[in-house]
Structure formats: C-alpha cells, structure tokens
C-alpha cells in the first residue's frame, strides 16, 4: 500500500535527491542564486516541463513549471509553495492534508482513484466530487496547464464541536 507509493516516489525522487542534498550541507554560505547550479539533474530544456497552476486559499493563482513524473505534492514542496500544513504525512497516504480540488474536465483527465486514496480522501475537509490527494497525482505532458485549487482546511463548526473526523 504505502510501500507501492513509497517505492514509486523513491524511483522518481532518488536521483534528484542527491543533488538537492548537497546545498543543505553548504547552507551556511547559501545564496538564492546558487540554487540553479546545485539542482543539477533537472532537465535543462524547458519544453519537457509541465505548467501547473495552483489557486491558494486567498484565491491567488500561482503558476509553476514541474517535471513529468513529479507528484503535485512534490511540486508544492519543490517550489516552496506556502500552503499551511500541506502534505503532513509526506506522501504516504496517511493523512488528507494534500487535498486539492479540480474542475470536472481536469478531474476526468487525472485517471482512476485507488481505494486507498479514496479512504484518506474521505477524511478531507470540504470533500467534493472532484477532489484528489496531491501526493497521488503524477504529472504527465497531457496535464499541461492543470489548475488545482487548495481548499480551506479550517474545520467547519460542526466538526470542531463534535470532532467526528
């Protein structure tokens, strides 16, 4: 279950990881400009990137470029997108904090949802018919221009009262 997810992420993430870890060691002298030099294994040509738009909780649209194979959670982390509490369980299908909402057309393109994802999605605040967990959606070129809305994560009054989450 989580093993499959983790194995898939390991395959995607491992090479990039090693290059990204080196800046952490030299963080004392870290300058923003260095970043482009140290994340060396990212493709250098731009047409292999996928453009993704996030609508944050303030309604602002944030546009980023991501690599095919990245999950939407990877994108949020890699791009330092400022969504409070997003991705608490680090993509292991043990929470619902990477909940994202799509329009109907986009939702259809995202493919089938596993029972395991659905089980965790069922716990998400503001669940809709077109909700998905960002850690389970891997980008492909066909998802170019995808728009994902980050829903409010604040519990509605009913839930904070009886806490039946």
């Amino acid at each position: 279950m989580a093993l499959v997810t983790a194995a898939r992420r390991l395959a995607q993430v491992s090479l990039r990881e090693y290059s990204r870890r080196s800046p952490a060691v030299s963080r004392g002298a870290w300058q923003p400009a260095d970043r482009s030099f140290t994340t060396g294994t990212q493709p250098l040509w731009s047409d292999s990137k996928v453009t993704v738009h996030f609508i944050n909780r303030d309604g602002e649209k944030i546009t980023v470029k991501a690599s095919p194979g990245d999950s939407l959670l990877d994108v949020v982390i890699n791009e330092d997108l400022d969504f409070d509490g997003f991705g608490a369980c680090e993509g292991t299908l043990a929470c619902s904090t990477c909940h994202l909402i799509f329009d109907e057309e986009a939702y259809k393109k995202l493919g089938p949802v596993t029972d395991e994802e659905m089980d965790m999605l069922d716990l998400a605040y503001g669940l809709t018919e077109t909700s998905r967990l960002g850690c389970q959606i891997c980008l492909t070129k066909s998802l170019e221009g995808l728009v994902a809305r980050v829903p409010e994560s604040v519990a509605d009054i009913r839930q904070s009262k009886d806490g039946s989450a």
Binding site: A24, E90, C95, L123, S153, V154, Q159
Partner: protein, 497 residues
C-alpha cells in the same frame, strides 16, 4: 523503504515557506543555536504540551510573525505526545509528522523544555508572569470509565492504558495485561478500538518489525487470544472508526470476520443520500458481514485461526468475575434498540441482557482531559477548557489547542487545523492589542531560575536527540525502526549523558 522515508524527510522541509525557514535556520545556527538574548520587544509565547497540538500551534505562530518566540514545555523527557504514544506501531507513516515537528523545535525562535511538569514544577500563574501568552495543549491523559460493577477486576483495562503499554508510555510499563484467555471484548468502535483489535490479532511477523515495545511483543507472542469482539451501543451506521482502519481489519492475515446478520437489517436501505465517507464505510461493513466470499477469500477464511467481529446494540452493565472473584470471566451486556438515525441516533435499553464469556475487557470509550492547575477554568462535565476559538473564557492571555480545546476526537489533521485556529486567534489578539505584548517579559530565563531553585532540570531538544539516536540504534540491531526506552529514569540518564 525506510531509506525512502529518510530521503523524503530530508527533501521535505516545511512546505510553508521553505526559504523563510532556511533564513531562520541561518539566524539560529552557530554555537548552541539558541544563544540569543531576546530583544525586549519580542512577544513570548509558552506552549504547554509537545504533541501535535503544541507543535502545530508553535509552527503557525513562528511562521506568521518574525518576532514571536515560542517555548514548548513537556512533562516527559521525550516530545511528540500521542504521535509517539498513541499512533499504532504498524502505522509508521502517520508518524512522519515528527519530521515537521523536529524542524519547528530546531527553529531559532523555538525552544523545547522536557521533564517539566506544569502545575507541579511551575504553575500556570508563574508562566503567565514570564510570558505574554500561554497556550495549553496538554491533551487528554485520563479516560472515560464505563462506571459498571467489576470494572476494577483483573483483566479489565482502558484502551488508553493498553495502547500506552504497547507504545512504551512510562506510566503504563507495569500493566502486564493477561492475554491467556481466548476471547477479548473491546467496548467502543472508534479507531482506537480497531487499533487494539489489530494489535491483539496481528501476526508476530508483522509486529516484530515495528516500534512496538519488546515486553509487549513478548506478551503477544504468548497470547492465547483468538477471538476479539468490538462492541458498540448503537448500530452499523454509527461506528466511529474510519474506513482505512476497517479495511486493515478485513485484510488482516490469519483472521476472519464473523458478525451477526440481523444487526444489519435495514442498513443498506438507509444508505440513500448519505455522504460518501459514511456510505463507503457502511458498504464495506455490509460486504464484510453479509456477502458470500469468493473462492480465494473462502479459502483464506477457512485457514484463519483468529476471529474478529463487530457486535452492535450492546452496552456493558457489569463485568462478571470467576467464582473466586479473582479475575474477569465474562461481561454482561444490555441489549439496545435505536431511536432516530444517523449521528443523532440514540441507544435505548430494551430490558434484555446477554452474557459473553471473556477473560479480557478493554474499554475504548474515549480519552478525557484533566485539570492541571486550579487557576485555569475547566468544564468538568465536558472535560475541556472552556473557550471560543481557542481563547480561554475569562482568562486573558490564556489559550488552548488540540483535544483539551475540542474534546478527544479527531486525527492528526484535525488537531492541526484546530491548532492553526488557536494560533490565528492569538495573532489576531496581538495585532488588535487585545493581547498586550508591548511590555517586555522575561520568558524562559525566569522559568529556568524557578526550575533550578526547585531542583528541576529540563531536557533540551538536543538531549532528546541523544535518546532518539540511542533508540534508533537499538532498533536497528533487531530490525525495528526503534527500540523505545521505557522509563523516565532511563530517558533522563541518556539525556544527561
């Protein structure tokens, strides 16, 4: 897979503004990392309790204002509360939040002080003298009792204590539950009840690779428990557990489900128009209880030596003892019927009773918060600190988050949102002036002096890291993620080494 998680945790810095974090880390690095003298104008907040509520409140505060300093006090030498002591050993992914909490703890504007008992070593009043605001996030360490005769017989335990026992909570070390009987009855049908059932029936092969404590593993290896009944007052549509945990029981190797068909009368008809989460959960329950299994599943069930099942419409009225009154021999259950439907349905006694033979009774009917300081308002009926959006009633400068605020239900994400809400209230009050942060406060320096006078030596976060490192190394030696230290004495010894 563990390597993958390590990679992931190193990759994942806070999603909420990583660049701000690295600046923060740069600020704090050098020497002890915390060796700043705070400027007199910075707001100082004290958080009591280092579980998810405490850490998420701290995280939100530190991120929102560049001048807030947060000190987290914890009674035990080790942090993380129920993430360490409540989350089941076979749910390690849920514990990934510890990585985020660790980052918070290591932020230059956050300090952790373990081994400090607020209410005993230092009062809330004294903390209020030292800090601009106090956030109480110490959770729910008590439990609701069944209130039935025989509840104190050997063989009856609260789920809180049973879970604390297999998770290494120092105060539950001596529980030594008797697992020599064939049948165990669990009262309550929430996720904690299912965790207990699952740990009682899981194959040893699975458990021995988790961070379950060694004594618990040994006891479970000798366990003769073969049948677990999970009993609830109401019906299938009122179970409080969630579908992931139910699915784990259904798929638990070496076990088969066995339920009472009549308990499910009328349930599938009642599913129309029910929200998706409840619908899917009930459908899985119906399928498990009623559907004829396919060949493969039939074969699996035939080979299963262990049995589990929900029993509905039953409330405990008495724990029955053996003739010598020395141990549990059974439980008397009152039969209920339901009035109303959905969440609001009520269990009403019919007058009938039913006796079930069993040697182990675990009541999983809810945790309960306790008052720790007489100066803090406490609602004893609901067992929470009375508050509005985290602002404690009639107590300026006092806030609460987590289970102490809303009652003991919800998963970590629930607590996260709850804590962010409290932090927002606190920040609003700072901005509006409702909370006066203009006068300087001494913060931890004042508290440290008091503690020193009283012979209390706090455990710092780097002291915890020595414990963490030892537990991890000991775990590696036996194929587990960690081998927990089981007593406060051992923890302090390692912390001071």
């Amino acid at each position: 897979m563990r390597n993958c998680r390590r990679l992931l945790s190193e990759l994942k810095l806070w999603t909420s503004g990583r660049s701000k974090w690295t600046r923060g880390l740069n600020e704090g690095l050098g020497g002890s990392g915390k060796a700043f003298l705070s400027t007199s104008s910075c707001p100082k907040v004290c958080i009591v309790g280092s579980g998810p509520a405490g850490f998420y409140t701290a995280q939100h505060l530190i991120k929102a204002r560049q001048d807030v300093e947060v000190d987290i006090y914890e009674r035990l030498p080790v942090p993380f509360g129920l993430v360490r002591f409540g989350v089941a050993p076979d749910h390690p992914e849920v514990k990934n939040v510890i990585n985020t909490f660790t980052q918070t703890a290591k932020h230059s504007r956050c300090s952790f002080y373990g081994n400090v008992n607020v209410g005993k070593d230092v009062t809330v009043g004294e903390l209020q003298g030292a800090y601009h605001a106090i956030v109480l996030s110490y959770g729910a360490e008590g439990n609701r009792t069944m209130g039935v005769p025989g509840e104190d017989l050997p063989g009856v335990y609260s789920a809180k204590d049973f879970v604390g026992w297999y998770n290494g909570l120092p105060s539950c070390r001596e529980l030594k539950p008797d697992l020599s009987c064939e049948t165990a009855v669990i009262l309550g049908q929430g996720n904690v009840a299912l965790d207990v059932a699952r740990i009682l029936l899981s194959p040893l092969d699975i458990l021995k690779k988790t961070d379950i404590t060694q004594p618990a593993l040994e006891a479970l290896a000798e366990s003769r428990v073969r049948k677990v009944l999970i009993v609830g007052r109401r019906g299938p549509m009122q179970v409080a557990c969630t579908i992931k945990e139910l699915r784990e029981m259904v798929n638990l190797p070496g076990t088969r489900p066995e339920m009472v068909t009549a308990d499910f009368d009328g349930v599938s008809e009642a599913l129309k128009g029910v929200p998706r989460p409840r619908k899917r959960l009930t459908e899985l329950l119906l399928k498990t209880a009623l559907d004829a299994p396919g060949d493969k599943e039939l074969e699996r069930r035939r080979n299963a030596a262990k049995v589990w099942g929900f029993r509905f419409y039953r409330s405990p009225t008495e724990i029955l003892a053996d003739p010598g009154r020395s141990r549990t021999a059974g439980i008397r259950l009152a039969v209920n019927r339901l009035e109303g439907s959905g969440d609001a349905a009520r269990a009403v006694l019919t007058g009938e009773v039913e006796d079930v033979s069993c040697g182990l009774v675990i009541s999983s009917i809810g945790y309960k918060s306790l008052p720790i300081d007489p100066s803090v308002p406490f609602d004893s009926r609901r067992a929470v600190v009375p508050n509005s959006v985290g602002r404690v009633h009639q107590a300026a400068g006092l806030y609460c988050s987590g289970w102490l605020k809303t009652g003991p239900t919800g998963v970590i994400a629930t607590t996260m949102n709850n804590s962010f809400d409290t932090a927002r209230s606190l920040l609003e009050d700072m901005d509006s002036g409702a909370l006066d942060v203009s006068a300087a406060k001494p913060g931890s320096q004042a508290v440290s002096s008091l503690l020193e006078e009283r012979g209390v030596k706090p455990v710092t976060f780097s002291d915890w890291e020595k414990i963490d490192s030892l537990e991890t190394r000991r775990g590696e030696a036996c194929g587990k993620p960690r081998e927990k230290l089981l007593s406060v004495e051992e923890m302090l010894k390692v912390a001071r080494s």
